[in-house]
């Protein structure tokens, strides 16, 4: 914004371009631009500094939506916490489980992984390697087993070993595959039957390079399994993952984590101010 000395149509166009290029999505962008423009008009804003604070303010209010945003994980204080990871193919579910398990372990929790992807080549081996890196047990069954049975056995074992947090991996699936979404509903049902209030968190993993289809994903996965939060991955590229703002705006789903790399430490709790800053850098 340093190159502009006054607020004009050109500046508004450039701002709209930044928002669209961030994949925020047409409807939310139009809404944002309306609010920014009307605020600028009502307050008769002429300084760049004030303009910037209006922009930040408007994005912030879309994110906060007049409620306390809880980016912390909903952990069970007296008993087993179950976290279910869902999402389409290749977005970073398995890798994010490794990172989050590592973080929780360093926060003093006893963690365990459940290899619920019994379908894809190398999936179980992949999660086992992450369990080794974290230094925690991983429950597996043979490839081709019913994922719900993996979760069932993992929960029994987690109770036996007094585990604090059980992180459950599932196979990637496109939200349009009815039978695969039914399978996910069954997994969710089995978990909720075996542990009261479980899964305590169902995290939808979304790749930052994803465009508008991210909204379809959020709607379908929320319908199948009550998604409680988003993990936004691959922010170490050039994409901004703006679709999560549109999802927050329309469905109210909070973003809990962001990941920015392939190392076990490349994970942070979501911070809206850092995210907004990243939109413009």
């Amino acid at each position: 914004f340093e190159s502009y000395d006054k607020i004009n149509d050109e500046l508004f166009d450039e701002l709209e371009e930044i928002f669209i290029m961030a994949d925020i999505g047409v409807n939310t962008v139009l809404e944002l631009m309306d609010q920014i423009k009307s605020d600028v008009r009502i307050r008769n804003v002429s300084s760049m500094k004030e303009f910037q604070s209006i922009i930040i303010d408007k994005i912030f209010s879309i994110y906060v939506k007049d409620e306390i945003v809880d980016t912390n994980l909903n952990l069970n204080d007296n008993g087993l916490t179950v976290i279910l990871f869902v999402g389409v193919n290749g977005v970073g579910k398995t890798t994010s489980i490794g990172k989050i398990a590592y973080k929780l372990k360093n926060e003093g929790k006893k963690v365990m992984l459940a290899a619920g992807d019994t379908f894809r080549a190398g999936a179980i081996d992949q999660l086992k390697i992450w369990a080794e890196r974290v230094g925690c047990p991983c429950i597996t069954k043979e490839p081709g087993s019913d994922p719900a049975s993996v979760m069932y056995e993992a929960i029994q074992e987690a109770k036996k070993q007094n585990i604090d947090v059980l992180l459950c991996d599932t196979a990637g699936r496109l939200q349009t595959k009815v039978n695969l979404m039914k399978e996910l509903e069954k997994v969710h049902r089995v978990i909720s039957r075996e542990v009261p209030n479980a899964p305590h968190e169902t995290l939808l993993v979304i790749d930052a390079t994803t465009g508008q289809n991210g909204m379809n994903q959020a709607k379908a996965f929320t319908e199948a399994t009550k998604v409680t939060g988003i993990v936004l991955t691959k922010l170490d590229g050039t994409a901004k993952g703006g679709i999560v703002l549109a999802i927050r705006n329309e469905l109210g789903t909070p973003i809990k984590f962001v990941t920015m790399g392939e190392k076990i430490t490349d994970l942070e709790y979501f911070d809206i101010e850092q995210y907004i800053y990243g939109l413009f850098s």
């Binding site: 290029m21 081996d125 349009t176 390079t209 465009g211 508008q212 289809n213 691959k234 590229g237 050039t238």
Partner: protein
Amino acid sequence: SLSDRLQQALRKVTGRGSLTETDIETMMREVRLSLLEADVNYKVVKDFTNEVKAKALGERVLKSITPGQQVVKIVFEELKQVMGDEAEGLRFKAQGTTIFMLVGLNGHGKTTHAGKLALYCRRKYNKNPLLVAADVYRPAAIDQLVTIGKQLGIPTFEMGTSYKPEEIVKKALDYAKENKHDLVIIDTAGRFHVNEELMEELKRLKEIAQPDEILLTVDAMTGQDAVNVSQSFHDQLNVTGVILTKLDGDTRGGAALSIRRVTGVPIKFMGLGEKLDQLEIFHPERMASRILG
């Protein structure tokens, strides 16, 4: 759909006789919004819509009794034109070993499509393919490719994760020659176009392998970033083709238009599922109508 949006936009206009330039502009706004929702790149949308507008004015849409339909037809024709004609085929060497190398971002479908390509080339061109596991970073990546190879009855050359990809590719080429493989398909690790170190590695692999095809694998749900990614990979490696994956979902796939428009690289294949036979030659007309929505 675009035709519904245009009908809506024109409802207030009909009965006036002919349209004004403002009405055309109203319709162009709907075209722009529709293409942005389809994930076509912002700048590509601007240029593309201007061309549609010029055509619309030139084709006397102003006087048409079904202006909405006519604009949809113009958009479809323009999309088809950009998508190109029939898909360009794979380049095979007339003699000796053909080399394909798959590159692209993490999780976009390279390993799966290495398998699909191997099966396709064996069935359609009677090739004797060798898969090469050059991803030594991702946990169990080699396992994944070896398993895929076993499912297809196609051998996978691997040296585990303690050798560098450069070494693996060198040895793989020797192995292919000794074992009479006329096709080598190299699976590489996912990486961002902005990761200098990993892009340098890819350039070294290209130098060693001298591939006949460098196939950029792109997830069809990629949004605005598709232009950054494809342009950067193309500038750095001279990509020869694109494989657009996960088209069995409901994403409109506007990335296809952006990539084609900005880099000119042909889209050669579409990935239509997780199974190894779910690969099809790119259909420009089908892609155009999908983006049109």
